[in-house]
Symmetry: C2
Subunit: 376 residues, 2 copies
């Protein structure tokens, strides 16, 4: 088993700093304190968006640790989860005793149109040609969900209200302001029926974690956070080939594996991959956090709020915290780290002892679920 | 310990097939025969050169195994070595029982000028601005080597003659023809004194390997090839900061670690990262395969030829086989696999029992050395 023993995050948002400066901002505090054996940079678009290749080697040079071996791990939006999985493997196999995982993406150097086009390059050619984009798929999913489960459109908007509230309590979140239900419903439609506030903004940001094997962790900190289980699973990239757009098989399967390896049935909070509001509900159902077909009802109550029975996206989620592609999955783990150390400030979940995060690529092409605990 | 139990390669060269078609060409024969737990795609430039992101997820869809989890591992020219290191870790940590590593790059979609500019994006900004490129660094290195060790310029040209001869015996090599010493010396100068034939061409290609834990390997094949040791090390990306341009610290350090973990002192053949001819000599010296400062003398004799005492780049090396960035390190391991199974045809090294490969990023930013054996 492995543990997270320290971490660091930048404010997410439109940042003036370059990609390598964001990496330095989170990496330098950690390399000053610890001897690092291996660096994993979780990043997808340094070439397309920042004209940089060999990012991991440039990163170690910027951090002043250029003798330390490094790689870049990419799995698009799910890169962070994959990077944590690789870090765990390197530690398990004793290829390294300390691994620094840095998730980072600098997206605002290019126009929104360019970013959208680059992100669409992960869809199969035929679907791209048919004009499908990730937002349009979210629109389709929400309509299907409403039809199948007789859910009101307002349920999705309520996800945004809750996540913007949580984000307003997170000093590192991109959006940093509350929105009302009316504001969400009246904001411009992006993919019918979903509106602007129901999609993650385009953000820059970075997050770093120091990981070690569990047996070493107490020599780094009094409060390590243990990765009790990890599961990864995949599904077809081609949405049109899926039997049922409402089934995120990769999410469900990754969750089953993670819970089984962790020997944990119930968690005290979860960070999900709410690229759009509807995804949070469907993911929570696939992971067994909310009841299948009834997840939407939880949003007409306090269930998923910070003080509810099943707090979801206390950080603000991708929806309000932002989604710098390679950084997101790492930042989810950082929120779990803060929660389980009782360091989440105004967002603190009371008596949090176990948590879960879901890092997802594309529209469920792949998923990595991690389960965290304050005890090994 | 882990082993390679099967493999597949495309012909390297200017190929009409797309990146995903090249991946299918090597992947499909293996996914038809084996159950795959995890896919690692070793690739650097799918975004910049092929407008594809999420390559690993598209790859599993093309291979008809889209339920299998996957990631992309990038370390520029050294991606292949890094991917093998990650594969070993995943197997060691039992995150997977079978890992399919696919190295692939499709470079000829863009013009040579565009490719050169994209590759230069791995250099630190200041060095890029100063007009440094990887070829210009190779030119500087060769002049320094000649001066320091009183070596004749012809030594480098002889590397190209030997590697083109080997490549002419390799049906998968890009160049497929012998060149004479005169032809090498008279071809256009790329970076004084080095000429066209002394640099790797721009190639497309893919190579796949199936890896399992050693204890499982004999249930896959009668002749597994074991990865006895692996070492990875890094150095500054900034060449101007190095004390001595002739010292490839990452190569030397990775070699020391690999030999120590393998408990092997002498190998029977080596595949090196001869992006240019001079690098083969300097790398062979750093790895202790040839004597420091005297490596060039071996090329006025038969030492490094297929039937010599220390055969180097029997495959033709990057120089003649080609260098599809993400594929190269994987293809080196495939050559070792063939040699140790006595399946290298006209290139077969007699009584080969142990081999070495060096996968290098940039100009020695990082290096991964693997040591292979026919026995565990
Ligand atoms: Ca470096």
């Amino acid at each position: 088993m492995v543990a997270i023993v320290d971490g660091s995050i930048t404010k997410f948002g439109k940042r003036k700093e370059s990609l390598l400066q964001l990496i330095s901002e989170v990496g330098i505090p950690l390399v000053k304190k610890y001897e690092i054996d291996f660096v994993i940079v979780s990043n997808t678009y340094s070439g397309e968006l920042n004209s940089i290749s060999g990012l991991n080697n440039l990163a170690t040079t910027y951090l002043g640790i250029d003798k330390v071996p490094s790689i870049r791990v990419d799995n698009t939006s799910g890169s962070g989860g994959s990077a944590l999985l690789v870090a765990k493997s390197l530690l398990d196999s004793k290829m390294a005793n300390t691994v620094l995982v840095i998730g980072a993406e600098k997206m605002s150097e290019k126009s929104t149109k360019q970013v959208t086009s680059v992100i669409a390059s992960l869809l199969p050619r035929e679907e791209r040609m048919a004009g499908l984009t990730l937002p349009s798929l979210a629109g389709l999913l929400s309509k299907e969900y409403m039809k199948r489960y007789d859910a009101p459109r307002e349920a999705f908007a309520r996800v945004a209200v809750k996540n913007h509230h949580n984000g307003s309590l997170n000093p590192y979140a991109h959006v940093q302001k509350e929105v009302s239900l009316e504001e969400v419903l009246k904001s411009p439609v992006i993919a019918d029926p979903l509106t602007l506030y129901e999609f993650t903004p385009i953000s820059d940001g970075a997050c770093a974690l120091l990981m070690v094997r569990s047996e070493d962790s107490y020599s780094f900190t009094k409060k390590p956070v243990f990765i009790k289980g990890i599961g990864t699973a995949s599904d077809t990239s081609s949405i049109s080939e899926r039997e049922n757009i409402l089934s995120l098989n990769s999410v469900r399967n990754a969750g089953v594996i993670a819970k089984k390896t962790a020997k944990v049935e119930k968690v005290d909070f979860a960070e999900l991959h709410d690229m759009s509001t509807v995804l949070e509900i469907v993911q929570a159902e696939e992971l067994g956090l909310l009841k299948k077909g009834e997840g939407w009802k939880a949003y007409f109550d306090t269930v998923t709020e910070i003080n509810g029975e099943m707090p979801i996206n206390t950080s603000g989620g991708l929806n309000s915290k932002g989604h710098p592609i390679g950084a997101s999955g790492v930042a989810q783990a950082y929120e779990a780290f803060l929660q389980l150390r009782r360091e989440a400030g105004q967002r603190q979940v009371k008596d949090a002892r176990t948590g879960l995060s879901l890092s997802m690529a594309g529209f469920g092409n792949s998923a990595t679920v991690l389960i965290y605990g304050e005890e090994p």
